[in-house]
């Protein structure tokens, strides 16, 4: 045996012992606490390591003593790190984080916490491209994360998975390697007043849930592969009053059997501004490159409601209902009578027999309604529906849209939402196959850590962060008065 081997063995043993030193939960902070103590102790002086300019917001006032704050766990006064505070917290606790840069990847496992930055723009979780996710809620229900920024993480800014009850408010996710704000296999939630920018997948994502019972309200998503995406999600999933701009593609809900709860269905998209999603220099997953140049693109989703959105300036379609061809799927396509089955129920289904799985599933966009949108500046068609099969039988409808062009031609006459359509379904169809060719020639993805992005935006924070009481994510989501929402204006510029 070489000496080196022996040394290695000793090291292995030492690491092994170190690894078993903690209890069930105490190890959750071991790696981050060690890495963060130094930086968070002097957090107000540590500059984030990023090529993006730092924010310029004025330092917040932190001296206020309030009834809410007096019961809170404060970082760094009471606990040196966010992780330490989260680990020390009991259900229902409020954690208040002072301005500073925190090199942490926080794991949340306690229910009903409220984790709040005291200044959205100055409380910065910075992964420095060496950490995975800023805040990960792994199965803790009722957790609210609010009023802070996460940047430079190899996967996500903010992540909830496997929870019942979640809320993200006044969050900024910037330059992340997978998603900005990512919600998976979770129900009963709200994402509001938040921002996602600079991710290859979606800036804002809610997937694998039905019924999701979730609201996305007043978010901005830009310079991502996809502005919004949700695979196999829907059911009281409402996306309103938000902005999706300057992504490769704007809003792309889609179906696929590579994860559970297919198809994507029953998502309500109302009153959003979706424009200029033609970016060529963002990070981008394959689907984002395929979807480039589209505003709202339903890729194999069903029974979605798309109303009163403002959509402008797209190289392909403003609002497109298109098929998603999934080769080598994991299951057979579900029949329409199973579209209302709760996601939780399908988890107990037998694993599909690979011998019965077809070579491909053509997920067609079916029974969607596209109503009263204002769509302008689309180079292929303002509103469109396409299929690799018979587009006339898919049951989608179009009415009262302001749109200068459609594919097929006269789409609102062909497929009205009331009455029977008339006309020629074959006139003016778009060539969906060409999109595959276009994707081959499209500018490739830019690494997320190298992409040229605008500076981290300085955005409005939550009101009264010092004094607002703990507000865990219970009774989510709030009701939204959909009828009160009008078509938004485009920005003056």
């Amino acid at each position: 045996m070489t000496t080196r081997r022996w040394v290695g063995v000793l090291m292995a043993a030492a690491l092994g012992l170190a690894a078993c030193g903690g209890g069930d939960d105490s190890t959750s902070s071991a790696s981050t606490a060690a890495a963060t103590t130094a930086t968070t102790a002097a957090s107000t002086t540590a500059a984030p390591t990023t090529d993006a300019p730092t924010t310029t917001a004025a330092p917040p006032t932190t001296e206020a003593a309030t009834p809410a704050g007096s019961g809170a766990i404060r970082v760094p006064e009471d606990q040196p790190t966010i992780q330490a505070a989260v680990d020390a917290a009991a259900e229902g606790d409020l954690i208040l984080i002072a301005p500073g840069t925190y090199h942490e990847a926080v794991n949340v496992t306690t229910n009903n916490l409220t984790i709040r930055g005291l200044d959205r723009n100055e409380v910065v979780l910075d992964g420095q491209f060496e950490m995975e996710t800023g805040s990960r809620d792994r199965g803790a229900s009722g957790v609210a994360v609010e009023n802070m920024t996460a940047m430079n993480y190899s996967k996500n800014g903010f992540f909830w998975t496997g929870v019942d009850g979640y809320r993200g408010s006044y969050l900024t996710a910037y330059r992340t390697g997978d998603y900005g704000i990512y919600v998976f296999d979770s129900i009963n939630g709200l994402l509001e007043h938040s921002y996602g920018g600079g991710s290859p997948d979606a800036g804002i994502y809610i997937g694998e849930c039905y019924p999701c019972n979730a609201v996305v309200d007043d978010v901005t998503s830009e310079h991502n592969g996809l502005g919004y995406s949700g695979t196999n999600s829907g059911g009281n999933l409402v996306i309103v009053n938000s902005v999706f701009r300057n992504n490769r593609a704007g809003m792309v809900p889609n179906s696929g059997s590579y994860e559970l709860c297919y198809p994507e269905r029953d998502t309500t998209i109302i009153g959003n501004a979706v424009y200029s999603n033609n970016e060529t220099d963002t990070p981008a997953i394959d689907v984002a490159i395929l979807a480039m140049g589209n505003g709202i693109l339903v890729a194999g989703g069903v029974q979605n409601r798309i109303e009163r959105n403002r959509v402008d300036d797209h190289n392909k379609t403003g609002i497109g209902l298109v098929p998603f061809l999934e080769e080598d799927p994991n299951d057979v396509e579900p029949s329409p009578d199973s579209w209302t089955r709760p996601c939780a129920e399908t988890k107990n289904d037998p694993v599909p027999d690979p011998d019965t799985v077809p070579d491909a599933i053509l997920w067609d966009a079916k029974q969607n309604s596209v109503v009263a949108n204002v769509v302008t500046g689309s180079r292929v068609a303002d509103i469109a529906v396409a299929s690799l099969g018979d587009v006339a039988v898919l049951g989608n409808c179009f009415a009262d849209n302001e749109a200068a062009s459609s594919a097929p031609l006269d789409l609102e006459a062909l497929a009205p939402c009331d009455g029977t359509g008339t006309g020629d379904w074959t006139a003016g169809l778009i060539d969906i196959g060409q999109w595959l060719v276009d994707a081959e020639n499209a500018p490739p993805s830019v690494p997320y850590d190298k992409a040229v992005l605008p500076p981290v935006p300085v955005l409005d924070g939550m009101p009264d962060p010092e004094t607002a009481p703990a507000n865990p994510a219970v009774n989510m989501p709030p009701a939204v008065d959909l009828d009160a929402i009008g078509v938004p204006e485009l920005p003056a510029s």
Binding site: R5, E132, E327, D328
Partner: protein, 309 residues
């Protein structure tokens, strides 16, 4: 003589193992080891049993965490089978730890860079290189799925011990291996074939190798590199290997589509699929992922079908 590093390692790690169902500090006396066996060839994989079934179907049904790593480098090295003997192995493709070579130890790997998207996963993963018309195919990426074994109680799973070495699949196979151990597929699809299928250009070829999920609680390796590990059966680990550890399925994705007839592995033919794992994760991070994802039965990540080439 090769190391018998693990003999000492087990002495020190025993304190950890004894916290779980492991048998404690047995077999720690080096004088009882037959050193003549240290150079024994890799054992037949049958000593480890086979999984009850392979994982198929959509992800998101059960707990897992996933690490994706880009291709790091290729070398004719194997730090498990031919430690300190560079050039002795068939050509391997390496993922994860960027410093892996024939001389690698846990110590040498600990400070190295990783090609993985989980920056604290500095483990070494490797597989035989795939040749197309006798030229090496540079893989697109690897994906490591960490899951409970079939029907194993996820709350009982312990992290791999630091320095664990294991091999899955048979580099000398002359017949088809069980697809629950070594399988070929296209993209993230459900197909599981014993040899490469013809894949579409958007769903390229992948090899999946599933490692044993039960550990003997004592040895990070043993002569023959198999006997310290076993596959679970009926949702339980055997008494000889009582410690349930994550079932690691390691996949390598290649930019290969179409007719597979010009393919072969550097270990010979197309039936010799196998892969190796040398645990040099940041151990605290690995422990945390096991606790927060598997014990809590949470899907901490998936390999999206939207991303695979």
């Amino acid at each position: 003589m090769r190391r018998w590093s693990s003999v000492l390692a087990l002495v020190l790690i025993a304190g950890c193992a004894s916290a779980g169902p492991g048998p404690g500090s047995a077999a720690t006396d080096m004088s009882t080891m037959d050193m003549s066996t240290m150079d024994m060839p890799v054992q037949e994989p049958s000593v480890m049993g086979v999984p009850d079934r392979g994982f198929v179907g959509p992800q998101g049904r059960s707990a897992q965490f996933v690490v994706e790593c880009t291709f790091s480098h290729a070398l004719p090295d194997d730090p498990i089978v031919y430690p300190n003997e560079p050039g002795q192995s068939h050509l391997h493709v390496f993922f994860g730890n960027a410093d892996t070579d024939a001389d690698s130890t846990v110590e040498s790997l600990a400070g190295a860079a990783t090609t993985c998207d989980q920056p604290l996963d500095r483990a070494s993963y490797w597989a035989p290189a795939l040749l197309q018309n006798r030229r090496m195919v540079e893989p697109i990426k690897s994906t490591a799925y960490y899951r409970p074994g079939p029907d194993v109680d996820p709350t009982t799973i312990e992290p791999f011990p630091a320095g664990l070495m294991m091999i899955a699949g048979d580099a000398h196979a002359t017949e088809s291996q069980p697809t629950s151990v070594v399988a070929w597929t296209c993209g993230t699809g459900a197909e599981r074939d014993s040899t490469p299928p013809s894949c579409g250009v958007d769903r390229t070829l992948r090899m999946l190798v599933t490692f044993p999920d039960c550990w003997d609680g004592e040895h990070v390796d043993l002569p023959g590199h198999r006997a310290h590990m076993h596959y679970s059966s009926g949702g339980a680990c055997p008494a000889s290997h009582p410690v349930p550890v994550p079932q690691l399925t390691f996949s390598v994705q290649y930019p290969v589509s179409g007719d597979p007839s010009d393919l072969e592995l550097t270990s010979g033919g197309l039936l010799t699929g196998h892969a190796d794992f040398f645990n040099s994760w940041d151990q605290a991070a690995l422990t945390q992922e096991v606790q927060l994802c598997l014990h809590r039965n949470v899907v901490c990540g998936i390999t999206s079908g939207r991303k695979t080439g």
